[in-house]
Symmetry: C2
Amino acid sequence: MRIGELADRAGTTTRTLRYYEQLGLLPARRAGNGYRAYDEEDLRLLRQIRTLQDFGFGLEETRPFVECLQAGHPEGDSCPASLEVYRRKLAELDECITRLQDVRAQVAGQFDRAVRARDGLAAEPSGQAPHCELANERAKE
Amino acid sequence: MRIGELADRAGTTTRTLRYYEQLGLLPARRAGNGYRAYDEEDLRLLRQIRTLQDFGFGLEETRPFVECLQAGHPEGDSCPASLEVYRRKLAELDECITRLQDVRAQVAGQFDRAVRARDGLAAEPSGQAPHCELANERAKE
DNA sequence: GCTGGCGTTGACGTCGGCGTCAAGGTCTAC
DNA sequence: GTAGACCTTGACGCCGACGTCAACGCCAGC
């Protein structure tokens, strides 16, 4: 199977596949003419990558899963390293969700206050600003 | 007040202030020597921007708030355009949170299945992959 | 006058995950 | 033999919000 067909079957593009190869994530054998040659197993690897990406995993995070499959294990998550990535991701998701809920509450508060102010009902002067950390992390220092 | 002092007082950098000016977000008057000159009102504008940024607003989304203050209103969210941004942001947050919770459930499911498989308990062969849309939106088409 | 600490503009680098173009090679069908 | 559908590598573009460097101007104190 050549690159175009694999891309089509996985619902992605040739550019993406070359990029993955460049990262060493999805290496390809070569045919005599220099064309990349893939097989059904590569399609599995690729699908593993895409599935994880759909979950928000970065490409580097998918690497343990791919290597696990390449090592001959039945599933990409049959290896300890993959499970560890799952654990880290779950923690990350929890933190992210918590932060977003926090932000949502703060924004809703600001919104309500602003609407009440607009309606003439001068509530508390709003005190000080909420000063959160928010979604796309600024919680560096 | 010059750019360095304003940056210090707002806890940001001069590069950031020049960038905001470049966007037309925080224009500066000029002293005779070409130095940017700011006053306390600019500090307010800047704090408004930073507060919203901490909530995850993009710079362009802060523009209505800044313009509202510049127009002389008591608060950045005293104007309809700002309230509209609040509304959009709340909807965006809700969607994002929902999606993340969805992803979290799917990842947790995968994790549990993998752990059970590892422990020898061959549960259902896992059927097909979850195939979600996930956090950083891939839900394009 | 000279050092040091401010300021100025301009331009390139960063991060991820590719898109898009350019200039060519390869293979198949007609 | 030639069109056109594939493939190759290389390189630049994009998004947002700045960081960082270069090369220079301005000003205060010694």
